[in-house]
């Protein structure tokens, strides 16, 4: 029965043309655009290593992470449709616990977001020669981030009960994490210690760095390629640190889930 409910929610998002565009095509389009701009401005092949495009890899992973974070809009769409209007009462009238609907919707949202991420990975692997780092780590990071995003979305929705407000907050916080990490506007800085925090400890950078730690490009130290790697933050293989980042992400998810549980008791959805 629970599977039927998950399938139902998946079915709905897969028929939503806007969602398909935003999570299916948009990440690809942005990656493609970045790739084209970059290619038009480069000579030589210092950015190529072992057949992979170093810069494209960094860009695509960053977009992958960002869209997992934005994927809260899926759960917000569901909540807006099922909880706000008359449908709330219709669903409650069925012999199912209300919690089941929310849980099924969350799982469907996570699956949708991971599938859209996988599409981005596969396409960019073939088109832009993107390096996949450690695929296991990439998928775990996607899973945790998109689950975290759904919890964050539910939490915001409980407070604001409004789709536009909630989505605006998610957009702003997503881009803010990217900007403050110095990955959207070149040379952006808020002072060393603040920068340090945003370069390492937001969900965005925790996820991105976990992926970066999980693979190796192993360039010749001192070479031009090595310089590029250092500039874009592609560090060398360090599985231990990848797992520490994943651990922190899990901890944040657990805290968010507990917050949803507690807030929802005092102020029901």
């Amino acid at each position: 029965m629970f599977l039927i409910m998950i399938k139902h929610y998946l079915n709905r998002v897969l028929r939503d043309k806007i969602m398909l565009f935003v999570y299916g095509l948009l990440p690809l389009a942005i990656s493609g655009l970045n790739y084209m701009i970059f290619s038009a401005n480069t000579q030589g092949d210092a950015h190529m290593l072992n057949g992979y495009n170093v810069i494209a890899s960094s860009i695509v992973m960053s977009i992958l992470i960002l869209f997992q974070i934005f994927s809260s809009s899926t759960i917000i769409d569901y909540l807006h449709a099922d909880v706000m209007g008359g449908r709330r009462w219709r669903l409650m009238a069925a012999p199912r616990s209300f919690f089941h609907y929310i849980f099924a919707a969350t799982i469907a949202a996570v699956i949708f977001s991971m599938v859209s991420g996988a599409v981005l990975l596969v396409v960019s692997y073939f088109l832009f020669n993107v390096y996949m780092f450690n695929l296991g780590v990439v998928f775990i990071v996607m899973l945790i981030l998109s689950f975290m995003a759904q919890m964050f979305g539910i939490l915001l929705f409980i407070f604001f009960k409004k789709k536009s407000t909630t989505e605006a907050i998610i957009m702003v916080s997503g881009f803010a994490m990217q900007i403050f990490a110095g990955r959207l506007i070149m040379g952006f800085s808020l002072g060393e210690s603040v920068d340090r925090f945003f370069q390492h400890y937001t969900p965005y950078t925790l996820g991105l760095n976990a992926i970066f730690y999980s693979g190796t490009f192993a360039a010749e130290p001192g070479s031009e390629t090595f310089q590029i790697l250092t500039d874009i933050g592609l560090v060398n293989l360090d599985m231990g640190r990848a797992f520490i980042n994943i651990g922190i992400l899990v901890a944040i998810s657990v805290i968010l889930t507990a917050a949803v549980y507690m807030v929802q008791r005092r102020r029901p959805l």
Binding site: N11, R12, R87, R90, M92, P95, S97
Partner: protein, 312 residues
């Protein structure tokens, strides 16, 4: 046999009492009409009855068991048609019916058969594969009702299921409700259209400001009213002689003449129709004559001093 009862049920929103010591009893096979103006508390009562709201006071019993917000077994045997259209616009009519059937635990052949039965019943067989986003208001309403019928509920609650639709769809829905009841289900039907209640309900409860203010069968409600008889007549030829003679009839309180049209008001149950007709025949004949029976609208107006619904 009592299917559902509400005893002294109170539901407050802050300081505001939406449902105020409400008593309601629904017997097996009834089509009970809950009639009331906007804001009377119909929807709130229904939500309480369906176990979707915590009530502040009172007791609700359904199928002989206590209704609570946790009793999923009672819900399985009930069907709810909400006031708003709550079907999923991205799913086809058939997929909507299937999902609602599944939520109530149906599957396999049983689900297929019931979905097909309901599609027939709501007249949407030809549109089964289409999405309700493209349907007319009436078709959406029918699907909305259909979604509550897939699991063959014993007790069906419909909250204003005919709002904003064409007369043809409305008749279709009213006929469907009668058929559902004739097949053994019990129906609670809320509306602010008194014609609907008059057409299909065998029991009527009138609600205002959270309270039941009158109840019974149509005959009981209308029969219990003190009212005036009104006769409308179009005479073949009007004359002062005719008017004077009608005025002289015992019980006649007022006569208004407009061309050949007469409106004659008498005291209740004076039975003046035949007498007036007789007089008019002697004065050149009658084109048409009717006496107006009081309606539920009049009952409501008398009880509350309010119109049942805002002018549309």
């Amino acid at each position: 046999m009592s299917i559902a009862s509400m005893k002294k049920v109170v539901k407050r929103y802050g300081d505001f009492t939406a449902v105020d010591h409400l008593d309601l009893e629904i017997k097996q096979g009834d089509i009970l009409g809950l009639l009331g103006p906007n804001g009377a508390g119909k929807t709130t009562s229904i939500r309480a009855l369906s176990g979707l709201l915590d009530i502040d006071h009172g007791e609700i019993t359904i199928f002989g068991k206590k209704q609570t917000t946790k009793n999923l077994e009672i819900r399985r045997r009930m069907g709810i048609v909400t006031q708003e259209i709550t079907v999923f616009t991205d799913l086809s009519a058939e997929e909507n019916l299937r999902y609602f059937g599944q939520l109530y635990g149906l599957g396999g052949n049983e689900l297929n058969q019931n979905v097909s039965r309901v599609l027939d019943f709501i007249g949407l067989k030809e549109h089964a594969k289409k999405k309700p986003g493209k349907f007319s208001g009436g078709m959406q309403r029918r699907l909305n009702i259909g979604c509550a019928l897939v699991h063959r509920p014993e007790f069906i609650i419909m909250d204003e299921p005919t709002v904003g639709i064409d007369p043809q769809s409305r008749n279709h829905i009213l006929e469907s409700v009668k058929q559902i009841a004739s097949e053994g289900a019990t129906v609670l039907y809320t509306t602010h259209y008194m014609e609907e209640v008059q057409a299909i309900c065998n029991q009527i409860q009138i609600m205002d400001s959270g309270r039941i203010i009158a109840g019974g069968t149509l005959e009981e409600l209308v029969g219990g009213m003190q009212h005036e008889d009104t006769i409308r007549m179009t005479a073949a030829t009007a004359s002062t002689g005719l008017t004077e003679e009608i005025k002289a009839v015992s019980g006649v309180k007022d006569v208004k003449v407009n061309g050949n049209d007469y409106v004659i008001v008498s005291t209740a149950d004076s039975g003046n129709l035949n007498r007036v007709m007789e007089i008019a025949m002697r004065h050149g004949g009658v084109k048409s004559i009717t006496d107006e029976k009081p309606t539920l609208e009049d009952v409501f107006l008398t009880l509350t001093g309010k119109k049942l619904r805002d002018e549309e």
